[in-house]
Symmetry: C4
């Protein structure tokens, strides 16, 4: 690969919210609406944040800390820390280097990366970068089931051939949420940015609707994925499959019963169903429901303390989305790396101040119940 552009972190950026504020000045209104917006009144978007903020950590003192570390094991792989990059579409809207820069930074910082189906750069180019580093984290491919199973299989095969370690099947998007901010901004993909993996797929011709039929239920949702499609997918790939977008314990139990490799608790960053609960609020119930099955979580993670709380509440690892895209907008790969560095440093500080030598020691007892 070509090394991505090297840029400087703008002065005054010392945390992830600083990156967001600066990105707001860098991105155009179209891209800002797309990346920052949520569904409806953005109640869930805000709830994701405030749910971490309002959970309180119970500090401990004078515990042995020397030689502590942030290492975890995830799907059998040792990772330097529990932070992954969530799948985010169309990253070339944020920076010309797009997903390539994100992958470069992830590999350098030992962070896992989940590449979106709607990547604006082809998986083969990215894999070369993502898999290049010996201390890299996992490289997973995020999959939307396509209406046409042949298309789905084509995507799965590209992911397998490119060397992906797992598939992340997103299941919370049978339809887009009401992304009002984006719609009000009249969002359009800029020229030169597209979902390159889908370029060759022809949409199936829609059956005409009868009077009284719903464009959604009788049209778009006519082929919405179900649990049967998940079972089918499992038969079509040798890769472990994780489900992303689970919030209800009953769905988590179903995933466990089907033998999936893991669950990502997510409300799609507040972009689908507004007034869905914050991920921090449902995480412990999901963990209770599935026992040893690995549970990851995203949504509103902005601080090392958030990461530690997530692990204490049962998460094996966390994913960040918008923050690294803002880092990407601000300084390309260097910006993404900076975001990962800041978050990991904060995590270590939080562990030290809570008397945790390792993340194994993080349990619900770490949280103060006021």
């Amino acid at each position: 690969m070509n090394a991505p552009t090297v840029a400087q972190i703008p002065p005054g950026i010392v945390n992830l919210e600083d990156h967001a504020r600066h990105a707001h000045t860098v991105l155009d209104a179209n891209a800002w609406a797309y990346f920052s917006g949520g569904a409806g009144d953005e109640i869930t978007l805000r709830a994701n944040r405030s749910a971490w903020d309002t959970r309180q950590l119970y500090p401990r003192v004078l515990q042995p800390l020397a030689g502590g570390h942030t290492r975890i094991t995830l799907l059998g792989r040792a990772l330097a820390h529990p932070i992954l990059l969530a799948p985010v579409a169309f990253q070339r809207m944020a920076h010309p280097d797009g997903e390539l820069a994100s992958a470069y930074a992830a590999a350098a910082l030992g962070a896992g990366m989940v590449l979106s189906t709607n990547s604006s750069i082809a998986i083969e180019k990215i894999a070369a970068t993502a898999l290049n580093e010996s201390a890299r984290g996992p490289f997973w491919f995020q999959l939307y089931l396509q209406d046409n199973r042949a298309h789905t299989l084509a995507l799965v095969q590209r992911a397998e051939l490119a060397g992906c370690d797992a598939l992340v099947l997103t299941v919370d998007g049978p339809t887009d949420g009401a992304r009002d901010r984006q719609r009000r901004a009249g969002f359009r993909l800029p020229s030169g940015v597209s979902a390159v993996h889908l370029a060759d797929f022809r949409p199936m011709p829609a059956e005409p609707l009868h009077p009284g039929q719903s464009a959604l239920f009788d049209g778009l949702l006519a082929h919405a994925p179900t649990w049967d499609d998940v079972a089918w997918l499992q038969t079509q790939t040798r890769l472990p499959v994780l489900l992303k977008g689970i919030l209800h314990p009953a769905d988590a139990r179903q995933a466990a019963a089907l033998g999936l490799a893991g669950i990502i608790v997510s409300n799609h960053g507040g972009r689908t169903l507004d007034t869905a609960p914050a991920t921090a609020a449902v995480l412990p119930r999901i963990k209770d429901a599935v026992g040893d099955l690995p549970v990851l979580v995203d949504g509103g993670i902005r601080r090392g303390t958030d990461v530690l709380k997530a692990v204490a509440l049962g998460a094996s690892a966390v994913l960040i989305g918008r923050p690294y895209v803002y880092g990407l907008a601000n300084a390309g790969a260097v910006g993404v790396a900076h975001v990962l560095r800041l978050l990991r440093d904060e995590l270590e500080i939080a562990m030290a101040l809570c008397g945790c030598q390792t993340l194994d020691q993080a349990s619900p007892a770490l949280l103060f119940e006021g």
Copy 2:
């Protein structure tokens, strides 16, 4: 009828609150104060909204969705969706086409309409429009009991002759609330707008008050309706009668005991008793109290998620008031239709993201208790 004026939806309006914001720029201060204002400090007005916002929906994934729909049955009639237009007085203050435009849009979108006693256009003109469409929703007449029973009967007979499907007896207004915003604005009906149904009624001469008597209790309320009047009304009409303005379970049980056709849980859009509870908060208690009796609800419904929550909490259908008047102000019949369209589309999205194929599947389990 003459088709109402055709107008364009102003750009940038993608939800009901956008309609409200735009209407604020379209309506004069007098009309805005009348339509938007509530009682007292508008605590209940705001509580109606926040009660829906703070209830959380529990998403489900991978459920079968194909062929789902929003259809319901209400008072024996199949409806395309559970959204009705609440009775709102004096709609010609919002737009020259007034109630006629609202009825036109309701019929076109399959929404029920409840025409106010204080309509600014005569019921006979509106009925022609409201009943015209084969896929129309119910057309109901909202009734205030008049001091003079002959007047009440005259209204009932006009409603019956015009073809109304039911009567909606509003019982929460023995006196107006303290509508401070409206009073501070010095509200007056503009010339050319009046309650045309009441034009021929002469008020009964008030008995002079003795010293120490209250203008309210000894004057205005001397003939305030009681349960006996409800029972009398039932003997005077062949139409089903629903009571609107019930918040207390004891009153709901009394309505059920009298054999009424349904209940509309309402605090009059926060326009009567300030600090009355939000309708979302009392709805489940009312439903518990009356079992199978149809319960509808209004108050603060602005989102498809609100509609789904209402149905999950026991409502057979919902009514919207201010939002469609704002649509009317913004673009006449087209504006009202746009409001109905937006709300129904959002409802479908919310159902899909909660794994509900039909509204029958919506139960209190759909709500996340945090």
Copy 3:
């Protein structure tokens, strides 16, 4: 007496908060700081208001309302309504007519009045007005126990001779609160305004403090009143004595045990101990503690709904302070009368909308527990 100045209510004033806003433009900074300010950070001042706002009334419909009324009986006297004017010092700072105007308005509107020890007009002048009207409410004298019992007795005798119906002994002020707003404004009594009842009293010479002694505990509080002083006062007057400033049930029980005539639940309008609880919060506990003993309440009453809530929670009557002083500032006696009129009208509306014909029907069941 000379009838007080006749003034007009400024336009746009339709409730008590409107009076407050307008008074802010009428009063000078010195007087505004004195009347509007509270202790410390004014947490209790705001809590008094929000405690009424957040309590919710449960509306009832179709109850018999004709011939209802707001009448109560208090200390054996029939009153037209349960609203009294609380003792407020130095009312000539608000308007040249001072306490005389307030008394005039109270008598005209059938409201009780409690005259402050620190009145800026002599009780004898005011009594002539206050007792003049046949439909007047009670006329009570608020008493601070003086360091010198002879002074206390002199005040009691003036009150008795002037025809007062009762004494209200304020017990929550052994020392002033930390009235920061007032102190920051450098408050001083304007020339021509003084506590006329205390003009002839010479303060007792303070004993010099030893090093390490506290100016408060060893000085000002050396003669702070105790329960013994209350018992002594009861032996010195034929008038019923109420205690004002009780918030703790134990103190209320003690008052009942001593045979006092009533209790006024009060935190001095948030002017003494900041972060003391709101009066609405303690009222039910006080009522529980004392059974049939009359309990009155002040603090944050601004709405007819607040009055109804207070009665529902056990109050026999309520007192307002700042609101009528603002009415006084805005329009003299007419302003005070307007405030009383607005509040009583709102009370009647609230009763009607809650299905209460009389205040006897108001019980805790009137409050919705969310």
Copy 4:
């Protein structure tokens, strides 16, 4: 010693927040960021304040108050009141007189003082002032354990020789918190201000890190103090040792088991772990855990009511930090004395209004549970 500069209190300052607001105009941005800032998003910084604000005091009336006082006994020493100056580093950034002025004011007002390891003036100079006054409070030295035990012993010996009454070992800072405000401001110690006690210590050479090792866990924390170091310290000094920075009851019990002299409940003024609980929230649990062991508390104390609440919840005494530094910035020693005076006066008022003659009478029953 030389008497510190005499200055005037700026007009309009009547409480501790006024001092803060004024100091913001006096301090340069660098010093303001250092003294006022907290960790992360400053959630704990704000929570410390709001936790005191939201606890409510239950006033009592007519209790005997004459001869009351604020005296306490702490570690066997009689004190005029329970207010101490917390250790704050680098006070010469706030005022040229620095820690000397603070010590002068503390001694004059009978307040205890805890001198920081990171004092910008040498302990020997300060001790002369701090120990000069017969009615002085305790003079304690705050200690950070140094990587090199010889350095720690050197500090202990200076403290003992200077006449300190106790050592306060701060245990909540194995690493600095993420002080984002300070970092964003690019904080640097101004020339001429330094930690004079540490001037002669050479840092131990850091061992080089292997790849994959953490600069924090494998570097800075390699010598982080543990309970063993506390036990060692106890064998090295004849002074009583208190632990500062305890929030968890398990740590408090451990401190009690080791025979420490007391505990200071503290979250370092919100400067270490953001989203740690407010000190007011954990104080009762700590007190429950350790029984008779003296417990002190800091964090957000700004009002006499806060002091009384702290004592009611089990604190033997309280410490203030930022407020006295602001007083120092505003008016040197006079400003510190003013802060202490204001707080003690407010404490006496609060006691009087709660019917407390002495602090012994303050118990959890003093708090209203709403």
